[in-house]
Amino acid sequence: MSVNRHVVIIGNGISGVTCARQLRKLDDQVQITLVSGESAYFFSRTALMYVYMGHMKFEHTQPYENWFWEKNRLALKQAWVKSIDYGSKNILFQSGEKLAYDQLVLAVGSTPNKFGWPGQELKGVQGLYSKQDLELMEENTKSPVNRAVIVGGGLIGIEMAEMLAYRKIPVTFLVRETGFWNNVLPQEESELVGRHIGSHHIDLRLETELKEIISDDQGRVRAVLTSAGEEISCQFVGLTAGVRPNVDFLKGSDLEVNRGIKVNLNFETNLPDVYAIGDCAEFQQAPAADRRPIEQVWYTGRMHGETLAHSLAGKTTSYQPGHWFNSAKFLDIEYQTYGTVPPVWDASQIDSFYWEHSSGKVSFRMLMDKSGRLVGVNNFGFRLRHEFFDQALREKWSGTKVISKLSQANFDPEFFAPYHLEIQKDFKRQFGGDFTISKPSFLQKLFGAKV
């Protein structure tokens, strides 16, 4: 088979791998090489926590069997990149080897934020992002840890807390904000998660910042000092105050780098034949009103990859994200969101409907604009159907219509409690609306869980 050009993708995470796979589907001639220092094969980063907790082995996090890459002629190169010569189109590896490319895709991901805390490089202090971080965490928690401190209340922080709890390591969780993840979640949801964290015996300290990490005489963490002036003795510190684009090794060249690699909506950088996708890319302008210039979730990484593959195959395609959605799991509580639900909103523009189950572990929020149109939903502790809300948002359904059809949106397993009935009743109470409340089926009535 004649090869027409060589596309090299640095990074074998979800964006890079999706781009490679889609490009192979669209173009049989192109030579594709995936470069990664982190791991020989693509794995799901989001599943690293399950490896630590013994739910899975590392190989289970690999979505494709090892023969897949050769079968699809996706060459894999495991090496760390030292520098890139954009003029001669060559990649220099730390090993001294070189690799020439015709087109280059930078999908180099993120790295944990460290805000210059004193002691942040001590032994026993780490973030959690890469496979190497996971291995380090195994190492760091092998010797007895009487207490761990986690700094930063986001998704990685709570994952780390759950991981440590599995190893029976008591956790103190320092969160700068007044509520858990309340720069993303509205107050009630943030409180719901906060309560759940407490029920897992995790010591959540809100409005508390890290001041300093204190060393013992062997260069290992011994304690942390908080903004409240308290010294907490600990042998492990998790730094989980978000991630930033992993671009330090790219700085100081012709490539335009700000917080991330600057790209337009075609993922083109300022240099010809060089593209950037995924966590490491920073859009010159946000791709949509409710989007940020740096998108750091699994789904957007995948979409970047899908979109760029089309451009690389000759059909220049601009990134045009659909309606926002996301999901996460906070210990035992699942969370999904569809559309836009900011942490705070202007009550003169937006109406909010909030329902919470008496258990305090299940909730539903729907935001509507003043004409009653759906803006977005948050659901905790039960599952809702993506397709349903994608359609509702696309067709600009009213909130009332969404609620009246909510039984169709239910994605919980059969016989689970029909929360949508309670939500419908509560909505009717708060907002009125002319619709009939759904009825559970006969079998559901007979065997189903009660709300």
């Binding site: 979800i14 799901s44 013994g54 739910h55 979505p63 789904y299 994200p321 999901s327 994608d390 397993p413």
Partner: protein, 514 residues
Amino acid sequence: MKLIQKLGLSLFLIGLGAFVLIPFLGSYSLNEELIIANTKEIHQEQLLEVLSPMLGKAYSSNFEFLGAFSENFDGYNDQLKAEALWDQVIWDDYSFAFALAGLTSPVQSNPWLFFALSIGLAAFGGLLYNLPAHRDEPEGIKNNGVFHSSLKSKGILGMLTGSFLIIFYIVLYWFPAYLVNLVAMVSPISELLSGNPASQWFLYGLIYTLAIIVMGIRMFRKYRGNKYQQLRTASVMFFQTAFAFLIPEILVLLNQPYFDFKNIWPLDYDFFYDYQISTFTSSGGVGMFMLIWGILLIIIGVPTFTYFFGKRWYCSWVCGCGGLAETVGDPFRQLSDKSLKAWKYERYIIHGVLVLAVVMTGVTIANYFSGFSFLGNVTNQLHSFYGFAIGSAFAGVVGTGFYPFMGNRVWCRFGCPLAAYLGIVQRFKSRFRITTNGGQCISCGNCSTYCEMGIDVRAYAQKGQNIVRSSCVGCGVCSAVCPRGVLKLENGPEENRIHELPILIGNDSVKLNA
């Protein structure tokens, strides 16, 4: 681990230890009356002569007794075989009957005491271990440490457990004479239920049922908050206890044929054997009902229920093999092989067994209606081959013994001809599918890891593709373990059930098929 759970585990192990030791109790001796009472008339004279060296001797262990028995009995047969005197060879296996009859053991005088010390203690210990499990934890997925457990991840405990199960099945199927103490021990229970003394099959059925109940309770604890898992576990516990264990025994008490109303051909491979048909036809209305019921299940029950609900209605809600797999086997579900290669083998093997079962049954029926002029006794050879290779070796030894090596559905996935039949209906004519929730999959792999049938669920989920697979038993665990709410077992219209070209929701830049 809580103190009470530790106590439970200890009691279970003591009970298990007693269960293993009991077969070695007592002594054995044979006399003429015993031989005559336990022998077919045509063999009585021969056997009295062949076994004469054993008469009146006391053997202090089952090994000694059965060693002497086979020395005399097999020696006699071997000589006849060498001389090609085939019609004089004794083909019947009398070892179990003689061992049971010749046994003198403390178990016989105190069966309830020994039962309480062995099976009773193990079951009680199991309950003590399972009932308080996860008591102080919130509802949620309890897979912590599965791959750090030696038992659950093919470590030394897993190897030992698997070896123990394999040995147990080999002894049960082919050397039951070594288990006569245990059979005598459970005989009073059998007599209470059916009025008859126990056989090794009664012993097996009793242990099997208790195991499903004790480990079913473990499932209730593990899946607290998951009504689907709890209901289907309750269902398999009910069907095993009532339909597979109690009702057949009670039928015998009422002088009716032994019959499991939920067992379906071709899993129930001897349903059309001539002796079964004769039993049905000679047992009046009840026998005829059983015959018709069994046939209706095959031709109407299976396609209809599978059309509406998928094969799960049987495999993970009713079936006895499925019941054991879903309760006792649950700790091993993650050990199934997810590779494409395993799927290829699976399809050849399971459909091969289905063809074999159908051909065997077809030949049997043809032979029956031709008055045995068609093939004579050849079908008996076929039956014994199938019974040995599929019924015992595959379904029993491999099917259960390999739980700790290849996961809890080895038989259901690779061997069960009924699963193959249900699967064909499920794949081509059913409303059942597992839907994936738009673009929400993060490819974490929990679903694939915990799929007991070795389906690479993630491969579908990350493409936004419905999962329509003949092998899926609808256990619902992929949906339970998914951290992002991506998977849902659904029955719905056949239209668009099979997505050839799925589209992931959420990216308006391109329309593509992932």
